[in-house]
């Protein structure tokens, strides 16, 4: 039984689905954020696996760009979570249902 690239793709699909489930069932903004990070990681794994399958380095470059965007997104998102927490003393997204500040 040899490892083929499709094994990695199925694993990435599984990790992505777990990330989607995390966003759907959790109400803690931080854990939802971690689930989004997991989904980005799953997509990166897909990029790198297909890069291996095709013998092209571009997939790894795309994975690096995704990492950069994820890093920018984490800094902004965590800053928003912290500033929301300073106003409301909660990181639960159900308590942020109204737009009025």
């Amino acid at each position: 039984m040899t490892v083929t690239v499709s094994w990695f793709l199925v694993l990435a699909a599984g990790l992505f689905s777990i990330g989607v489930a995390g966003v759907l069932i959790r109400r803690n903004a931080l854990v939802m954020f971690m689930s989004i990070e997991l989904m980005l990681n799953a997509v990166n794994l897909t990029f790198v696996a297909v890069s291996k399958e095709l013998g092209l380095i571009e997939g790894q470059v795309a994975a690096l760009f995704v990492m950069v965007v994820a890093a920018a997104e984490v800094t902004i998102g965590l800053a928003i979570i912290v500033s929301v927490f300073r106003d409301r003393s909660s990181a639960n997204v159900d308590e942020l249902a109204e737009l009025k500040g």
Partner: protein, 175 residues
Amino acid sequence: MAETIVFIIFAAVALAGAVSMITASNPVYSAMGLLAAMFAIAVLYVMLDAHFVAAVQVIIYAGAVMTLFLFVIMLIGVDKPDAYGKQVPAQRVITGIVALGLFGSIVLAGRAAWITGSNAFGTANLNGTAEAVADELFGTWMIVFLATVMLLTIAALGTIALAYFRDVPEEEMVG
């Protein structure tokens, strides 16, 4: 054979870390689960000959991003009670069905497209060293690279602005 064993072990670690991340009631345990999943994914990158991406994964994700997450968890405190919040009836069941359906449709769509896994692993000649990645990154994708530089600068400025310009009454301002 050794590759199969390594893949199975680290795929299991990644899946277990991901599941523990979404089921743990304490956000610190969630962060630890995500950390385990990220390290396992880094090992899988090494299996896929993406050595530089694996190093970046450990340094950026497992290092910087997870430290930032843990720092924010520390800052805002761990709100233990009611970690799942109010739930729509049968929300977990529906979520499980949606996630399984998504997984199945991704796999089916992938098979129907062109990835069938016919190539034996490791037949393609690819070596993702820092040099190989840099040749591509600073050659063909230079403009995109500069755009990401701008993106990171703007993100840093936005974070500073969010932390610094607060909507507070004048007398509470310090300095």
